[in-house]
Symmetry: C2
Subunit: 411 residues, 2 copies
């Protein structure tokens, strides 16, 4: 992983940085996600190695932090990796979507993984109840939840295999816990390498590698300028990173959109996920000429390991595009990334940085995930919010329960 | 279509509204997309009715405005409509994505539609050149481009069937032109009904229906408060609207993110597309407790035409969720929409409106598309930008050409 910042950082921040580093070291002892790169994965590996070979689909029933991380990693790897099982996601109460997904699978050849940290997520339990009505064999289920949650007790009673989420690992920080590792391992993803990637970033940060300085500088810039540059775009130049962007949107938005701890003032950094070159033909105009309230991080893949090349054919009337002839697509897409980045840097008032990962593999996506988790924690400390809670969504849940009770009364 | 605004509009705007309405009436005579609902579609219907039955896949090679609208309509209808052909989109230069897509199709049973308004879009021509090297039969191609573009001349020379885009219809406003109608018609989409939906909205606006007042009030609010509420979220409660949101992001961002015509000041309204209930577990926390810089439009589907119901099963330890028993999923998702909306309305400082479409069909999506196109034009007039150009993306293209030329020198 390489990372280069194209914006100015004031240099006299030694004290602030020392202070920030101390706070993150303290979090490292208390907040669970920091320990995930070095967890024991033997139980998962054993479970995956003896997994039923007749199963073709693995259906994840989960929402938010219980699906986005798994999907980000799975969809990143899928186009270039031969997966042992196909993952399918039930992450909505939309009846059209549920019916459509059910039409894609053979229920007898599908294993269902129910994931809910609290064990009482309405969407997840609603779909689980429905699936239970058409598939009663407990061997076709696995549950992932907090130890001691109502769902873990149900698993015990129904004799469904259960994996636990450490209680100090929040949903949106759980991609590298059992939540992500269990389903991905079944599909044949090398979860050891995933954690190795995360560990490399962790070491580089905590043991004074190059990421310590860069991550702190980046976080300081984002925090100090959060009232001005409060929209943070990822501009990822590969279709494989589409769902990584969705994962980032939850991580960034839900962690940093808060009332401040000491002022109760509303703050927040708004995440936007973009895919290049597609979004050069969409959001880029707004980035280039719109209000100066956005920063952008360009993510590049150094080696696509694909030699697909534009043939040296000259088309009548399109001779001006002969400059494309003989160019490999991987060179073209990376040149497009550089050209867009340069155009924005030359504007002088759009903060840009460049993040490169080596290739499309487990190590790279593991490192990318841990990099963004660390960055989120750093910015959360600096803008004085509780990075790990989400109190703002409770009120809607109470209103929904009222509506459900009223509906019962009518029936 | 119903639309209700939950924010205050000052009432003494008669002059401003008259003025605005006049300007839009003038645009109606000059800007091409306004006329699309009443265009002649006989040529397309004829072409589609005699389309090769052996073709299984229709591959759209296009990017931005040449793919987003088609995808929005196709993916909205697909889960509930038996499509005659499967659409597949080549909208990137990512070699992994191109190789993966090619692996999904049988080249002999695939028809390729090359779409580029200018006829010289780099991404599109790059992929077209590659496809031409593996499929030379001109009968397997259709081209959609501006009359007189280099691509239309090439079509003529290679004897490839060509449809035209009216020169006064911009890419991001072209969903209801040949760009969208031709590929969708081949798949069996009822394009007449699509246009009927658009026409209903057009009439309601221009002939003093309920949308005239509502659209102008909404546009006035967005324009007057654009410095404060400059992030506009769509929160659509159905997975079927996922790609509609992507289409909206281009339309809104690329049309309204500009230098002002008379001041050269950077302005812009940032679009965010959200899907409920999924994004209740992601972006909602930021919307509820983050900076007060966002408005949200909730889109609901009145009738899902799907009776999937949560079974009346009581699960041990999860008895608190028996309130879900016997509830239809379509009632649940719409209650979730209402609960989230109410929670936000009660905050008093987040501007919310509710937009309902009848059902998942051509008429509804046609109306939704024209509604957003009109709203974009109205806001564009009010914030003093040229809604229909995109000058901010040119510099990156020049830098890319330089890089390609340098690469040639090295080879």
């Amino acid at each position: 992983m390489k990372n280069k910042l194209y914006f100015d950082i004031s240099k006299n921040d030694t004290k602030t940085k020392e202070n920030l580093f101390q706070k993150i070291c303290k979090e490292n002892e208390e907040v669970g996600y920091y320990s995930l790169p070095s967890q024991d994965i033997s139980e998962i590996l054993e479970y995956a190695s003896s997994f039923d070979e007749k199963i073709e689909h693995v259906a994840v029933i989960g929402i938010g932090g219980s699906s986005l991380g798994i999907k980000a990693i799975y969809e990143f790897l899928k186009p270039t990796k031969r997966m042992k099982k196909e993952l399918i996601f039930f992450e909505s109460t939309d009846p059209i979507s549920i019916s459509h997904q059910l039409g894609q699978i053979d229920i007898e050849k599908t294993h269902f993984i129910i994931i809910s940290k609290s064990g009482t997520t309405i969407e997840t339990i609603a779909v689980f109840k429905y699936i239970l009505s058409i598939q009663q064999n407990e061997k076709n289920y696995t549950i992932i939840t907090d130890d001691d949650s109502p769902l873990s007790k149900l698993a015990d009673k129904l004799k469904i295999k259960c994996f636990f989420i450490p209680s100090n690992v929040g949903g949106r920080f759980s991609a590298l816990s059992n939540v992500g590792l269990m389903p991905l391992s079944i599909c044949g993803v090398d979860i050891k390498d995933l954690l190795n990637g995360a560990n490399r970033v962790k070491k580089s940060f905590f043991e004074d590698g190059f990421l310590q300085e860069i991550l702190m500088n980046k976080a300081l810039f984002y925090a100090r300028n959060h009232a001005k540059y409060h929209i943070n775009c990822i501009f990822a130049y590969s279709e494989t990173l589409e769902y990584f962007c969705e994962w980032y949107v939850q991580l960034w938005g839900e962690s940093l959109g808060k009332k401040q701890k000491h002022s109760a003032f509303h703050v927040g950094l708004t995440p936007v996920g973009l895919i290049g070159p597609k979004d050069q033909h969409s959001f880029l105009q707004l980035l280039t000429e719109g209000t100066r309230d956005k920063s952008a991080t360009f993510i590049k893949i150094d080696d696509f390991k694909d030699n697909l090349t534009i043939p040296a054919v000259s088309l009548p009337y399109l001779e001006s595009l002969d400059i494309l002839n003989g160019v490999a697509f991987h060179d073209l897409i990376n040149m497009q990334c550089c050209a867009t980045m340069e155009a924005l840097i030359n504007q002088n008032d759009i903060p840009i940085d460049e993040l490169s990962i080596c290739r499309v593999d487990e190590f790279s996506i593991g490192s990318l995930i841990f990099y963004y988790e660390l960055l989120t924690s750093l910015v959360g400390q600096l803008i004085d919010v509780n990075t790990y809670d989400q109190p703002g969504v409770e009120y809607g849940k109470i209103l929904l329960k009222d509506k459900l009770l009223k509906l019962k009364d009518q029936l």
